[in-house]
């Protein structure tokens, strides 16, 4: 966190100064470790064994926050009798279909529930992120529960059995962490949880970039739910994003499978009509019960007056998906000549995406490529100076891709918002006019659309209605005709039929009388005021600071904060008081905006026929779930299992001591001639992992070209332990060549005790650290670490596993062509 989020790390330092204990678990001793109270070196790719053992430690020693677990999680829920665990099936859950290479999740459902359409739909379009609420409950309560948590098929007992073999001894064997160190961490977490204390878990892409990445975070969620650290101040799981406004880019997504506000993208087979789609997205209980209002308001925002009740609000105009259209699938298709054109904005796939060689070969198959960036990055020039041109594998004359490089304006040169990991939107004002031909992304997108619409309007084809019906009208400012970002934010907030700004998502209607570009952002322009531009200093307001920027939803700073009070609505403790029920006023009140129906009493029991949030009980804090509870066990929404299990990375030098099925069976391996595997065996004996340095930014476009940053880390290097250096003859300051089946790269050598040799399964295991910032352009150059990695993807979110793979390393520079 200190490495990649130094500004955010100031708050960790402040907490430490106030007595917080900071524990850092990482394959390397980093800047964060240097400031932590406790550092634990772990083998890259083994985190679920570590976290699962914490779950086991909690359950075995009775350290869970029992009242919280009983009341607020699905621990008591009884699961379908057809469910079988990885413990029963040697690493597989019930429902595995080897032929389809996928799970049928029907046996993971709550007992006593009808199954059918939900499961079938999921099989067609695995969209983990879009289907979190699932559960297909008719009303708020699961059909069968055992409040004593004794029933052998209740979630609590399933969890206990599932993690029973995740012991300190296993952690030592799998993670290379001495058992005493593990117990120390587990105890510290337990000691700092409960009524009086809370503990937070922070993670970054070190967890997400694995073939089991989603399940890493799931395991953390189980820990936090068992310890009562969700919805309470000082608790939670904090996802540290890899780039400014990455949170914003999932809220209003650049992802293929969701629409703004986490609505799933319509699927061509499953949702041919608006009615089909709404039936799938509207939940019977919880706030997803209003999804129809969210969807219709979105369509009104996009298609304006053209969207009417008669034409289903132009639902047909939306793009429909037919399967996996994620980044890596698209690049593989591109390599096979199936993709003609490609816009690259704010990315540098030629060196920033896994398997860079595949990326470059793929882009060489395009008809056209548009690159918009601050500087001329590798993606814009691979066709004339890339490694494959040097090696002769590609010839410039043989590449038919027409490349357009368009200079982009920086954030200082445009108005707009950043959404940070706390879901907080903060407005930034343009400080200077962009020079020369530099333009904002908003300018580019708007005017590209405008020109396309003008051309299509002249053609007059019926098939172009989707583009022509768009409400494409924003005030244009200045001599560059810059669209007003303020007007865009206003549209995202939503307006009623008279153009008045809405105060929040509860104002949204499903009848077409409201328009809203992203339901969760509704309220960011409440009262006609840009709420995201508020900058009231912290010292002039409460410690929650509700008047700094604006956080979705409804300016709530802490999600599910109903859980900060006990089932009766009283704070769990005075020390951790946050939101509570005011029995006199009969309202929820507290330091934050309550994340609950404001006047729903704690003892509320939904009557028959209740819908949406009113179908949940007054003591159910998890209002986006159909049962209102935090899910220890996930009956639907994940494609690789209802519980996390330790699987080895796709490429690993060690075997899985737990299960015969050693790797995540549902992972996506993407077999392709340009995506070879290292395979098992001793050819690639070491673990390699990528990461970032404070001095550089992602794939380097914003740092390698600036002397003040480039000089601080001027060359690609690798980090190795003194033991590995001795074993392979690597010299500090010298050169090393690193091999995988995808590529051979070279790097300067940094020999450091910060990368420790670990003892795993009784033998010494070495890890090679590779910062991934480099490419061949800019002031600071070097080979791209991403070239070494293949595409083995998490099946839920299609993220590549480049935090753990195998490699070999030798002294000296790589061979020159």
């Amino acid at each position: 966190m200190a490495e990649c989020h130094p500004v955010g790390f100031q708050w960790v330092m402040e907490a430490k100064a106030r007595g917080a204990r900071v524990i850092h678990v990482d394959p390397r001793f980093t800047r964060t470790s240097a400031l932590a109270d406790t550092f634990v070196a772990i083998r890259a790719g083994s985190d679920i064994a570590f976290l699962g053992a914490i779950v086991n430690h909690i359950l075995t020693n009775g350290r869970e926050f029992r009242e919280y677990v009983e009341a607020y999680t699905n621990a008591a829920t009884i699961i379908d009798e057809r469910f079988h665990d990885t413990e029963d099936l040697d690493g597989l859950f019930s429902g595995w279909d080897a032929g389809k290479h996928a799970y049928d999740p029907q046996s993971w459902q709550y007992a006593g529930m009808a199954t059918g359409p939900a499961a079938a739909h999921q099989e067609d379009s695995p969209q983990g992120e879009a289907h979190g609420y699932g559960a297909r409950l008719k009303a708020g309560n699961p059909p069968e529960t055992d409040p004593t948590l004794e029933h052998p098929r209740c979630v609590y007992q399933i969890l206990k059995r599932h993690f029973a073999r995740y012991t300190p001894e296993l952690v030592e064997e799998v993670c290379g962490v001495p058992r005493e160190r593990f117990v120390e961490v587990a105890e510290a977490l337990c000691d700092n949880s409960g009524r009086e204390r809370t503990a937070a878990i922070c993670y970054a892409v070190g967890w997400t970039q694995h073939s089991t990445g989603v399940q890493y975070i799931r395991t953390a969620a189980i820990i936090q739910l068992l310890l009562g650290n969700v919805g309470r101040p000082g608790g939670g799981i904090l996802a540290l994003r890899g780039h400014a406004s990455i949170q914003g880019s999932t809220d209003i997504p650049t992802l293929y499978n969701i629409l703004p506000g986490y609505l799933p993208m319509p699927h061509a087979d499953a949702h041919p009509t608006l009615a089909d789609y709404l039936a799938a997205v509207c939940a019977p209980a919880g706030f997803w019960g209003h999804a129809d209002a969210f969807v219709v308001s979105l369509l009104k925002a996009w298609f304006g007056d053209a969207a009417t009740t008669e034409n289903d609000f132009c639902y047909d105009h939306l793009p429909f998906i037919t399967g996996d259209h994620s980044t890596y699938r698209t690049m593989l298709d591109m390599a096979d000549g199936k993709v003609q054109g490609f816009f690259v904005m704010g990315e540098n796939p030629a060196v920033g995406s896994a398997n860079g060689r595949l990326q470059r070969f793929a882009m060489a198959e395009l008809d056209w490529l548009v690159v918009r960036d601050l500087v001329e990055i590798e993606t814009a020039t691979f066709w004339k100076d890339g490694p494959e041109i040097d090696s002769g594998e590609l010839r410039t004359a043989g590449i038919g891709t027409e490349v357009f490089f368009l200079p982009a304006a920086a954030h200082t040169e445009k108005d707009g918002t950043f959404t940070n990991t706390q879901r907080m939107l903060q407005w930034h004002h343009k400080a200077v006019e962009p020079e020369g031909d530099r333009r904002s992304d908003l300018w580019f997108s708007f005017h590209l659309g405008r020109i396309i619409r003008e051309k299509l309007a002249a053609a007059g084809e019926a098939r172009d209605r989707a583009v022509l019906d768009l409400a494409w009208d924003y005030p244009l400012l200045g001599h560059h005709h810059e669209p007003s970002a303020d007007a865009v934010l206003r549209e995202i907030n939503g307006v009623d039929g008279d153009g008045r700004t809405l105060s929040g998502f509860m104002d949204l209607k499903a009848d077409g009388s409201t328009a809203c570009g992203c339901w969760i952002y509704s309220g960011c322009y409440a009262d006609g005021v840009n709420q995201t531009a508020r900058r009231k200093p912290g010292r002039e307001q409460s410690w929650v600071a509700p008047e700094w920027g604006w956080a979705w939803p409804a300016n709530r700073r802490l999600l599910y904060n109903r859980a900060s009070a006990d089932p009766a609505g009283n704070p769990w403790s005075e020390r951790k008081k946050y939101v509570w029920w005011d029995a006199g006023a009969r309202r929820w009140t507290g330091h934050d905006v309550p994340d609950f129906v404001a006047d729903m009493a704690p003892d509320y029991v939904p009557p028959d026929g209740a819908t949406a949030e009113h179908a949940l009980r007054g003591d159910s804090p998890f209002i986006m779930q159909t049962d209102g509870r935090g899910w220890l066990f996930v009956p639907s929404g994940l494609v690789d299992g209802p519980l996390p299990a330790h699987y080895e990375p796709h490429e690993s030098p060690v075997t899985n001591p737990l299960y015969g099925q050693g790797t995540n069976p549902a992972r996506l391996t993407q077999p392709h001639r340009l995506n070879p595997d290292n395979g098992p065996g001793g050819r690639y004996p070491f673990v390699m992992t990528t990461y970032r340095l404070t001095e550089h930014h992602t794939a380097g476009g914003m740092s390698r070209f600036l002397s003040h940053l480039a000089e601080l880390q001027p060359e690609m290097f690798c980090e190795v332990s003194p033991e590995l250096a001795a074993e392979r003859g690597l010299e500090n300051g010298g050169w090393a060549t690193i091999h995988s089946s995808r590529a051979t790269i070279e790097a300067r050598v940094l020999v450091t005790g910060r990368v420790a040799a670990l003892t795993v399964q009784g033998r010494t295991l070495h890890q090679v650290g590779l910062p991934y910032h480099w490419g061949w352009k800019g002031l600071s150059t070097g080979d791209a670490a991403n070239d070494l990695f293949g595409l083995a993807l998490d099946p839920n979110v299609h993220i590549q596993e480049d935090k753990a793979a195998t490699c070999d390393i030798r002294p000296g520079r790589r061979p020159r062509p």
Partner: protein
């Protein structure tokens, strides 16, 4: 800072909370338009800057050290078998500044904030100040000849602004303010750090009785100064000049006397 009697302003660099982000180095170069110091991979931990110089006015040192159980660093350090010390070095703005003493043109001067600043339009590049500095801070810029160093952002101070490095520091490792206040704050901080298990922690340059009369930019260090590449007992190099001149004067007189005696003696012999 337009008060009638400007107070002495300075830096307190608390290395116990430095996260080595180098924001100070970058902010300094941005604000002061300091050119690049070379794209050299030094293979010395994460330090590719190396040292203070004409083109580096803040330098973050990274020291990978074995744990010192006796000195008792943080618990993490002992368990992981390594301590990683980080410290942002800077011109000390000495109370008795030798660079200033030896400057023949008056290019180096003491400002109203009692900081030591080079006036680039006066410096003639004689370089006398370079060997005078006990810390090796001040340095001639190649191709330019003049000397350059930290100004403690004199221009910003005159506009009531915080120096760029302190402004950019995310963890308040670099603190700027009236020196008296900083010294008091540092003393309190030192107690906390020691209580937290770093008995070897100490203030470096906060003592007015040291060889340079105390620093205008002082430090809280977690290990001996030598570990950070700092002189343990810096002395203003011009301290002994008066005595040296006295000695030289005495020696000269002695020589004159001897010569005279020789002549006289010779005379006697004759």
């Amino acid at each position: 800072m337009t008060t009638a009697e400007p107070t002495r302003m300075g830096f307190f660099t608390d290395t116990s909370v430095c996260i080595g982000c180098k924001a100070c180095e970058v902010a300094c170069k941005e604000w002061n338009d300091v050119p690049t110091d070379g794209l050299d991979f030094l293979a010395t931990s994460y330090d590719n800057t190396g040292a203070l110089g004409a083109d580096t006015w803040r330098h973050v040192a990274f020291l990978e050290r074995p744990p010192v159980p006796a000195a008792g660093e943080g618990e993490a350090a002992q368990d992981s078998g390594i301590r990683w010390l980080m410290s942002s070095d800077v011109c000390k703005h000495c109370t008795h500044a030798a660079c200033l003493d030896v400057c023949p043109t008056g290019a180096l001067f003491r400002t109203e904030f009692e900081t030591v600043v080079v006036q680039q339009d006066i410096c003639n590049g004689c370089g006398y100040c370079v060997p005078a500095c006990p810390f090796g801070v001040i340095d001639q810029r190649k191709g330019d000849g003049r000397v350059w160093k930290c100004t403690l952002c004199y221009d910003r101070l005159r506009s009531d602004m915080v120096p760029a490095c302190a402004q950019a520091c995310p963890t308040a490792s670099i603190q700027f303010g009236p020196l008296d206040e900083l010294r008091a704050r540092a003393a309190g901080r030192l107690e906390l750090v020691k209580e937290a298990g770093v008995p070897g922690a100490h203030l470096y340059g906060a003592d007015e009785t040291d060889g340079v009369g105390g620093f205008g930019a002082f430090f809280l260090l977690l290990d001996r100064p030598e570990v950070y590449g700092l002189p343990p007992d810096p002395v203003v190099t011009t301290r002994d000049l008066p005595a040296m001149w006295r000695s030289a004067g005495a020696a000269a007189l002695a020589v004159v006397g001897a010569v005279a005696a020789a002549f006289l003696g010779g005379g006697r012999r004759r």
